[in-house]
Assembly symmetry: C4
Homo-oligomer: 279 residues x 4
C-alpha cells in the first residue's frame, strides 16, 4: 500500500521540498536560518505582548508584528502541505499540529465577537512557543544525548516510580500529621508538598508546623538529598559507556596479529607489538 | 522443625496459591493486573475523599467505592490467609499487616459512635497507600537497583551519620547565635533548620537574621552544596562496578580448560592459567 | 627530646590507659560503648532543655541529669589527664579542649550570680555537642572517605575559590541592580543572597524584584545548577580511583611470565596464558 | 607585521616587566603577593563601605583607604602601561579595562558636582570586584579544570539550550494556567519562575496556587531533579577521561623506537608497531 500511494514530486514542488525539508543546498540552509530567526522573534513578540506595560505602550507595533508573523507562518504551513507527498500525514504529525495551532488563534480572534472570548483566544497564541522545539532538529549533539538517555530509560522509569511511591506515602502521612489547619488541606496537596520537599525545591508556601511533622519532613529531605545520586549515577554510567564505545571504535584495532594471534593493537599498528610480525 | 510444619496445599487451595502468589500462569497474571488496578484506584478514591469540595459533592459515590474496595480487599485478604501453609506467618509479615490495616478502619468506623472519633478512624484508611509498595514486586529492575544501593549501604550509613553530626553541631551553633527571637526557638528547631539548609531545600520559614548567623549559614550552604557529591560518587561507582561486572562476565572466555576443567579464563588465553594445558 | 620526655605508665595508670584510650580489651570496648551512650544521652538532655515547654515541666529532672553527666564527664576528663604520659599535650588537643568546655559551664553557673549571665553560661553547655565528633573515631569507613576527600582537597579548594569569586561578583552586581529598597542593603548581604541562590537553597527571604535583577539571578541559578556537577565529578573520579586501586591490589598479579615476559596475569595464575610457561 | 612592531624593552622597563608580569624572580613573587593582598583588602573596603552603619561610623577611615588604594592601583596601572611593548593592546584587554574601571570612579567623583550623581559613581567602584578574577591566574589547577570544562563545552551548550527550551515552554504554560492574579504577571515572569523551580532553588516568591498549576509544577520539579544528572554525568566523564589520559601517559612506554624514532608505544611493546624493529 505504501508503494501505491507514493507520489513523486516534480517541478517547483520538488524544488520546494528540497528547500523546506532539506538543508543540503544553499537555499535550504538559508531557509532554515531564516525560519529559526522568525520563530525566535515571534516568540519574543508573544512574550513582550504578555507584559502589561509593553502591550499598552507598543500595542500597535506588536499587533502588526503579530499579523506579519501569522501571515509568514501561514505561507510556510501551506508550502509545507503542498511540498510533501502525503499532506494529511504531515498535518496530523506533532509539528503539523503545532504549526497549525501557531497561526489559528490570530485568525479566530477576528471572527469571534466579545472581548472576553478574545482574551482567551489571544492567550492561545502562546502555544506558538512549542515551535521552539523545531530548533532541536538543528543540534546534532542533542541526538547523541537523547540516545544516551533513552538507553537508560527503563532505569529512569523505575526511579521515577520509586519517587512517586515515596511522595504518595509521605504526602499522605503528612496530611495525617499536620492536617488542614497547617496548610495540608488534602492528600493531593500533601503529595505536592512532598514533591516540593523531596526534589529540594522547597518553596515554603506549605511548611510543617508541628514537631512530628518537622521530624518526618527532615527524613524526607535527607532521603531526597541522598536519592538524587541515583539518576546521576545512572546517567554518568551511561555517558561513560557511550564514551568507551566511541573510544573503542576509534582507538583499538580489531585486527589480530597473523603471526602470533595477539590482539589489542593500536589503530595505526603495522607490526605486532609482541612478535614483531607484519600485520 | 521446618520440615515437620510443612503442610502441602491441595485442591482449590493449591490452585488459589498459584493464582494469588505466583504469576506464571494466565490466571495468575490476570489476578496481578487486576489487583494492581484495584490498589491504584482505591488510593485515588482515598485521595479524592481527602479533598473537601469533592467529598461534599460526590460523598455517596466515594463511600460506595470505599465499601466496594474494602469488601474486595477483605476477600483478597481472607483468600491469602487460606492459600498459604502458614497463615499466621503471613498475617505477621509486613504486607500482611498493611493488608489488614487497609480494610480495618472502614469496619471500625461502623462500630464507633460519635463523629469526632469517626474522623480520626477515617483518616487511618490513608494507611492503604502503603499497599502501593506491592507494585515494587512487579518491577524487575528495582531489584538490581536496590542491590546496588544495598552494596554501598555501609558507606551511605557513614555519610548519613556525618550529615547528622554536622546538623547537630550547626543547629546548636545557630540556636546560640540567632536565639529564640529569630525563630530558632530550641536546639531541635535549629537542627531542623540546619537540615532544611544543608539539603538545599530552603523553605525560608526560618531564616537567619543576624550578620553572624548569615555568615555561618553561608558556610553550611556551601558545605551542603559540596557534600551532595559524596552520595553521588558512592552510587556512581557502585553502578559502574555493576556495569563492569556484567561486562566482565561477557568478556571472560566461556571456555573451560580441557585439562583441568577450570573456567574464568581471559578472552585471549591460549593456555590454562592453572594447569598450563593448551586450551 | 621526645625520648627524654617519655614516661612509661605503670600500675593502675597503664591499666587505665588501656581501658580509656584503647579498645582491644573487653573492658576497653565496654568503656567505649558506655561513653558513646553517655555522650548521646547528654546531648539529648541539652537539646530537651533548650525547649521552653519541656524545661518548665521537667526542669528538676533535667538539672539532675545535667549534674550527673557533668560529674561523669569530669571523672572521665581527670582520668584521661592522669592516664596519659603528657597531660598538657592532651589538655591542649582539640578533644581536650572540647572535653573541658563540656564540663566547665555547669560549674561556672554556680559561681556566677545574676540570672542574665547565667543564661549566657547555660547556653555555652551546648558546646558539648562537639563531643559528638568523638563518635567518628569508632567508624572505620569514615577514614577511607576522609582520605578520598583529602586526596582531592586541592581541587575542592580551587572549586570553592571559584564559587567565592562568583558570589562576590554576582552579589556586588545585584547590590548595584536591586539596591537597598529591595532587600539588598549592602554588598555582604548581596553575597549572602548569591550564596543562597547559587547553592540552590533559595530561602526567599531576599528575592530580586526588578526585571533586570530577575534576569541576572536566572543566570546565577542556571550557573549554580550546572557547576554542582564539578564537585560531584571530582569526588566520583576520586572514589572510582580508590576502587580501582583496591581492585588492582586484589585482582591482578604483579608477576611477569619468566618465559615470554607478558604481564597482566590473574592473581591466581600459575602458567602464562600466552606461552604456557610455568610462572 | 608582528615582527616589525616588536619593541625590545631595555633598562628599567625591562626590569619592571620582569617584576610586574613575571613571577620567576624574588621581586616578581613579592610583587604578586603584595598585589593579591592589596586587591583583597580593597574589595573588603568597598564591601564595608556599602554597609550603612559602618559607613557612618568609620567614613573618614574608609575614604582614606579608598584613596590610598586608588593611588596604588593608579601607579600599578601606569607601570603596566609603561612596561609592556604594546600599551594600547594591554589597555584594550579585559584586565586592562577592569584595571581602569577600578580607579576611574574615585577620580570622577571629585569632578562631578551634586550628591545624586556622586552616589551613582561611587557604586561603580564596586566594579573593582572584577579584579578578583586576577587571582585565578595564580592557581595552577584552575587551568586543568577550565580545560576539562572547555572540552565538554559543546555538550554543556546543548544542555543549557534544552533547559532554556523547557523553561520557555513551562513558563508560558504556567502563565496560561495561573494567570496574573496568582503572580504570573507575564510570560517572562513565568519563565523566571520556571528557572527558579527547575534549578530547585525555589524562592517561593511566586508559587502556583491552582490545582492544575501545582500538578504541572510538580512535573517540572521531578524533571529538574532528574536532569541535574546530565551536567553531572558530562563533567564526571570528562574528569574521568582527563584522569585516564594522565594515567595513560604514565602507562605508555617512554621509549622511542631506535629504528624509526616513533614514540607512544604500549608499555609491553617489544617491537615498534610502525617499523617492526626490535626496541
Amino acid at each position: 500500500m505504501a508503494a501505491r500511494d507514493e507520489v513523486v514530486l516534480t517541478g517547483w514542488r520538488a524544488k520546494g521540498h528540497e528547500i523546506i525539508f532539506e538543508s543540503d543546498t544553499r537555499a535550504g540552509k538559508a531557509f532554515d536560518v531564516g525560519l529559526i530567526l522568525a520563530i525566535l522573534t515571534s516568540i519574543v513578540v508573544v512574550m513582550l505582548e504578555s507584559v502589561e506595560s509593553i502591550r499598552q505602550e507598543h500595542g500597535v507595533l506588536l499587533t502588526g508584528a503579530e499579523w506579519a508573523f501569522t501571515l509568514l507562518f501561514t505561507v510556510e504551513y501551506l508550502l509545507r502541505l503542498m511540498c510533501v507527498t502525503r499532506p494529511v500525514r504531515y498535518a496530523r504529525s506533532f509539528f503539523g499540529i503545532v504549526d497549525l495551532l501557531a497561526i489559528l488563534p490570530t485568525y479566530v480572534s477576528v471572527l469571534v465577537p466579545g472581548t472576553q472570548a478574545l482574551a482567551v483566544i489571544r492567550t492561545l497564541r502562546i502555544l506558538r512557543v512549542f515551535r521552539v522545539l523545531k530548533l532541536a532538529n538543528y543540534v546534532r549533539e542533542s541526538e547523541t544525548m537523547v540516545r544516551a538517555l533513552a538507553a537508560s530509560r527503563r532505569k529512569i522509569e523505575v526511579f521515577v516510580s520509586a519517587v512517586l511511591m515515596l511522595v504518595v506515602i509521605f504526602g499522605s502521612l503528612m496530611y495525617l500529621i499536620e492536617g488542614p489547619e497547617n496548610g495540608f488541606t488534602s492528600i493531593p496537596r500533601g503529595i505536592y508538598w512532598a514533591i516540593v520537599t523531596l526534589t529540594t525545591v522547597g518553596y515554603g508556601d506549605i511548611a510543617p508546623q508541628t514537631n512530628l511533622g518537622q521530624a518526618v519532613s527532615a527524613m524526607i529531605m535527607i532521603l531526597g538529598y541522598g536519592i538524587i545520586a541515583v539518576p546521576t549515577g545512572i546517567v554518568s554510567v551511561q555517558f561513560a559507556r557511550a564514551e568507551r564505545e566511541a573510544m573503542h571504535e576509534r582507538g583499538v584495532s580489531g585486527q589480530a596479529c597473523p603471526g602470533c594471534g595477539a590482539g589489542g593493537h593500536a589503530g595505526d599498528a603495522e607490526y605486532c607489538r609482541l612478535c614483531g610480525g607484519r600485520m
